[in-house]
Symmetry: C2
Subunit: 436 residues, 2 copies
């Protein structure tokens, strides 16, 4: 029999993910040992209250409230407490002591990932966080390893399960926004503070992490243009459906060339229209998916569960094994540096297209007026559809699809339309993504 070296694993936190990580480590220990080439020993689990009820039955002697001491004796620390503190201090302590760290903490990595990665690099330790974006879906490793010889141009993801659940209910079951949110809440899909989901904060955190890995560029959360789903109406969903489109909350990170030829990145979160035959259009319920465009590889998509204890634990274990293997042999870590350090361009600089729905006076010359306003702002119409049966008497609905144009020009076009006397109401403005 082989003599295996022991690697001591410290687990911080024992919620739904932590309990599953502990279970998998204990149940699959021998198999993991064979794959790692070292024995992964669960040295302890730091919790606030040793006697709390857990999802999984675990040996009581593993639990401790002394996280600091547990960290100091560990080769690899798995942080699953969530939140900024004490997670940040404990991770820093671990890295400074030469331990590798695996975490699923998206808020922490979004806010302090740069600093923590620098700490890791200084001591030659690893900081891995695959589970922080889209839970079970392998996305950070494919971006940083499989596509390492390619040039990623765009990452576009459905990375918040609860908002996807709400929009999907509205789309496929005709729910009102309120009813859909209630179902999502009843099923436990929404965070304790639903604002984090529905206003796009959670998606924005994940977008910064995706941008960092795809483009080797630090993007502060505050630099992410963010719009939530709270203004999306059943009417917009219905109109989209009628046009062969679907509305999804997208987190987008892409390389862009600004108007002054600056090369940069744009990171944004907003609800947008997608054609029904786009691979992201059929991501139903609370599922997540990340669509990637790269110069050589073309279009790729990674799909799966974006939440859940066992699902997230699967990604944590993958990182843990990877960290353990490198812990033994040494060498450079997996996650790339921030060497590119591209500027983050404002949302006005991105190229996109709009679908604009207006209520207009049903009288001669209105179409010409609208067309003139578009032309004055350098925006070209791809389609115009008039519907006299909708809207108040003497009014018509006008649906304008624009060609791709700079966001700032599109925004000023909408402002000018809103101010025109022929336009009685701007019913809806949505961006269109994923077009060829």
């Amino acid at each position: 029999m082989n003599e295996y070296r022991d690697l001591r694993v410290a687990l911080l936190g024992c919620g739904s993910v932590g309990a599953q990580v502990a279970r998998l480590l204990l149940e699959h220990g021998d198999e993991l040992t064979a794959r790692v080439g070292a024995r992964l020993t669960l040295a302890g689990i730091a919790v606030r209250d040793v006697n709390s009820k857990r999802d999984v039955d675990l040996p009581i002697e593993l639990f401790t409230t002394d996280a600091e001491r547990l960290v100091q004796g560990a080769d690899i620390v798995v942080e699953l407490m969530g939140g900024i503190e004490p997670a940040k201090s404990l991770i820093t302590l671990a890295l400074q002591g030469g331990a590798d760290v695996v975490t699923a903490n998206k808020a922490l990595i979004a806010a302090h990932g740069k600093e923590l990665s620098a700490t890791a690099e200084q001591v030659g330790a690893q900081l891995l966080f695959e589970a922080s974006v889209a839970a079970a879906i392998p996305i950070l490793r494919p971006l940083s390893e499989s596509l390492v010889g390619d040039h990623i141009t765009r990452v576009m993801g459905i990375v918040n399960g609860s908002t996807n659940y709400i929009l999907d209910r509205m789309d496929r079951f005709g729910d009102s926004a309120e009813d859909a949110a209630k179902v999502a809440s009843d099923l436990g899909f929404l965070e304790a503070d639903p604002t984090l989901d529905v206003e796009g904060f959670d998606a924005a955190q994940k977008a910064t992490i995706l941008a960092r890995i795809a483009f080797h560029t630090e993007v502060p959360e505050a630099a992410v243009h963010r719009e939530g789903i709270t203004k999306i109406t059943a009417e917009q969903i219905e109109a989209a459906k009628h046009a062969g489109l679907v509305i999804k909350l997208l987190a987008i990170a892409e390389r862009v060339t600004g108007s002054d030829d600056t090369e940069g990145v744009s990171v944004r979160v907003y609800p947008a229209l997608l054609r029904r035959d786009h691979p992201l259009a059929t991501v139903y319920e609370g599922k997540n998916a990340v669509f990637v465009e790269a110069e050589a590889a073309g279009e790729l998509m990674f799909y799966g569960a974006g939440a859940g204890g066992a699902e997230t634990a699967s990604a944590v274990l993958g990182d843990l094994v990877s960290a353990a293997r490198r812990h033994i042999v040494g060498g450079p870590g997996i996650i790339g540096s921030l060497h590119a350090d591209l500027p983050v361009l404002p949302v006005g600089e991105i190229i996109t297209s709009y679908q604009i729905m207006l209520e207009v006076r049903d009288e001669p010359g209105v179409l010409a007026k609208v067309a003139t306003i578009l032309a004055e702002h350098g925006v070209s119409a791809a389609s115009v559809e008039q519907n006299t049966s909708k809207g108040a008497a003497g009014h018509a609905a006008l649906i304008i699809g624009t060609h791709a144009a700079r966001e700032a020009d599109l925004a000023s076009t909408v402002a000018a339309l809103a101010n025109d006397s022929a336009v009685t109401e701007v019913l809806s403005v949505l961006r269109m993504e994923g077009a060829a």
Copy 2:
């Protein structure tokens, strides 16, 4: 400036993939150097004829016809010649000399992967073949690394682009089988010998590779149950569509428990019905996708281009960088062993469900007879639909959906139905996959 060590890369073959690999290596050299921590130097390109026309303009002095000599001076060999020989001998030579090898050669890996991996292991070299399955899509690395702490239960892929293209034309454009095949052929989607595609040989090779990586088990190509798409009719496609289903050629590798409680794997390729809301159902045109089920991670899907020079080159480069990084630091290779070595169970042992379409005499008692035959074979009907408007006068079409049952029982049920006097024709038998 850093002093980087040189790693000499030998390229074998310069077809559509090889030329793109050479281009990417030359164009992205500095960036790759930063990511690898060593300089990847293209030492040479072995070809049959130095003066052949190439897809990409490359320095003539790189070309040689002496592959053996090129291999002997290399740190990493990238084999993109295809076919069994001389690829196999050259890879063996490279590995025995301590070089790492990256290949996209599915036929070679399917037939001789076990032997070549053993050679690599003996000398501590690496053999990587991400590009051999589903070209650009990162699938082998996620299976072997991201899911290393999980238990994969099933891998189900659309891994042959040309047959997917044909079935998709029939489904979405109503093409006949002949017309769809002609379009696919005109577009260059079919191999020189279309049998490799339409009879499922190509998919079967990829299935053995997926099974090997997912289940650490060697599966000889001959052990793969294989049915092609040549018997699929426009009527079957239409009937599937009508029922909210779609027919896809699937390569399936799964853990199964045989009737005598043997734990084993089943590997098979056949056209099967999928519900339209299954993630694989919306894989259109020549795209590939691999759907993975794992105990903890749940359902995952990896989607993208399954062919193409640049697309395949992207995956080759990912492997090349990975091999280069490990070449420098040493340590265990990525691709796991065949330690599990599970038995490959015959197709009769798998659990699946059938959709059976029969033409029957339109007379009393026929349904009872059919139900009796099912029950006698231990098969339970999930749905029975009768359609008197179809078929010859005095006849009706009967569509039976079965519950999941052992394949052998289903097959003998169909045989018994075919022999019954009430049944005038067995119109269609298709398996149903992806049901919950």
